[in-house]
Every structure is written in C-alpha cells, then in structure tokens.
C-alpha cells in the first residue's frame, strides 16, 4: 500500500458515505449537504488524477453553484413534503435490486477491459501545458469548436428557458 492508495481509499469511503446518505436521508437539506460532501470528494479524486483544472471547476460549479441552487429550490418547495412523509416510493426494493444488478453488470464487464491493471505513466508536460492545450482545443476548428459553441447555445437556451419557466405567474402578482 502506498500513500496515494491510502489517500484514495480514504476519499472513496467519504464519497460513498456521502452518496449513500444523499439517497437515504429523509431531510432534504441534509441530503443536499451530504451531496456536497460527496462532490467535494470527487474534486479530490480529480486532484489525484492530476486534472487540477477539473478539480477546481468541480468545486466552483458543483459546490458553489449547483448545490446552492438545489438548497434554494428545497427551501422554496419545503412546504410540499415534510420529513414525516414517506420519502421513498413503494417499489424501492425493486429499485435497490435494479441498482445492485447494474453494479454487478458493470463489474462483470471489467473482465473485457484489457488495461484494467494499468498504472499511469508520468505526465510528460508541465501541468500548465494541459490547460493551454484545453484552451486551444476548445477554439480550434479541427478539434472541439463545435461542442464549445453548442455549449454556449445550450447554456443560453437553459437560461432563457429556466427564467421563462420559473417566473411567477402574472396573475398571482408576486409570491413573496
């Protein structure tokens, strides 16, 4: 066991606990906070994978923006479902079984991946280089320019659509 392996196992335990509490906690605010813990663990995993840019982006996007949005939405809809109400539906056993079957299915697929026991080769370039490459790839006509511009259209559509949907109905005259 090397130090890196121990760190990886520690982070994995945190992520899995966070994920399990997210799906099982009856209090939705707590579920959101556990989700944040799991997502922070994923950021640490990105650091281990030497994708430092994605690690900080994970924190900036998921922890600072998405999870806060989720908590706001929980607060806005808090009156609809109290903690006392059933949080899981009738077929939850079936759901657990399905999830377990998918998990074992994925595990059984691993035997077909030849590089499974690979350990990473050292990155040849400086870490600065990879961010520059990423930036160039995003605007290069031969590489990912289409996803880049499509993403901007997608974000624009999401923003317009979400504002359109989420605005309070006019007749109600404000719901503060």
């Amino acid at each position: 066991m090397t130090v890196l392996q121990i760190i990886f196992l520690g982070i994995s335990v945190i992520i899995v606990i966070g994920a399990l509490m997210t799906v099982s906690s009856p209090n939705l605010v707590h579920a959101a906070l556990w989700l944040i813990l799991a997502l922070a663990g994923v950021a640490a995993i990105f650091v281990l994978l030497e994708a430092s840019f994605l690690a900080v982006v994970q924190v900036a996007v998921y922890i600072d923006a998405i999870s806060i949005l989720i908590v706001i939405a929980v607060m806005l809809t808090r009156r609809a479902m109290g903690e006392t109400e059933r949080q899981i539906n009738r077929s939850w056993l079936l759901a657990a079984f399905a999830a377990f079957m998918v998990f074992s299915g994925i595990l059984s697929l691993f035997s077909q991946v030849p590089q499974l026991a690979n350990t990473p080769s050292d990155l040849v370039e400086s870490s600065e280089f990879y961010i520059q490459e990423l930036g160039k790839a995003l605007v290069n006509v031969d590489q990912s320019i289409i996803p880049f511009e499509v993403a901007s259209v997608l974000l624009l559509a999401a923003m317009i659509g979400a504002i359109f949907i989420a605005r309070p109905p006019e007749r109600a005259g404000g719901d503060s």
Binding site: F53, V61, A65, I66, L69, I131, G135, A151
Partner: protein, 118 residues
C-alpha cells in the same frame, strides 16, 4: 505534480481544525446551563410567531440560476484565457462570440424583468 497540492491538503483541514480547537476550548472554559428561555428563538425579546420556514420568494432562484450559467461560462473561458497568448485572431473572436451569446442571455433576463428585486 501532486506536490503543490500537499500544502493545500494540509491548509484546508487546518482551517477547520484551528477554529474547532477554539470552540473545543470554549466547551472546557465556558459555563453550560441551558434553560428553555435562553434557548428560545431570539427576536429582540418578542415571542416568535408562526412557522420558521417562511415562504421565500422565487427571485432567489433566478439569481442562483443566472450565477450558475455564468459560472459555467467562466469554466469554458478560463482555458481560453490561459491559451490566449498563443491563439490566432479568429480563435479569440470565437471566444468573444461565446461571451456575446451569454450577454444576450443576460439582456433577455434584464428585459423580462428577472433582475428586478421586488
């Protein structure tokens, strides 16, 4: 390349542990005599009325939403900015086109009155 992160991996837990130590010291030093009056909700001496979970206004969601979209935009633009010195002019213009589309979104929100705090 993990090396610069070691410092951060130490500093962030320390940032939690040091204040936690202060709070732990407080546990040792401070008196603890809770009573119902002391623990009641503080509203400058008034009795609290109604449920704590007041209905918040939907405007909070709109602000969070626009913030989220701009956050993602920044994620796309930061690698572009890092590579900026090595880009051709047309590549820079593509980035600017990206910004302008999002600015259009902001303009839409403004026009719809979604930025008003009423």
């Amino acid at each position: 390349m993990h090396e610069p992160w070691i410092f951060i991996a130490f500093l962030i837990p320390l940032g939690i542990i040091l204040p936690a130590t202060a709070i732990g010291l407080n546990r040792l030093l401070a008196p603890r005599k809770p009573n119902p009056i002391k623990q009641s909700t503080y509203e400058c001496g008034m009795e609290t009325v109604g449920d704590t979970w007041v209905q918040l206004k939907g405007q909070y969601y709109i602000f969070g939403l626009i913030f989220l979209i701009f956050d993602i935009e920044a994620v796309f633009l930061f690698p572009w900015a890092v590579a900026y010195q090595q880009l051709q002019l047309y590549m820079v213009l593509e980035g600017i086109f990206f910004i302008l589309l999002l600015a259009g979104g902001l303009l839409y929100a403004w026009r719809r009155g979604a930025l008003e705090w009423v």
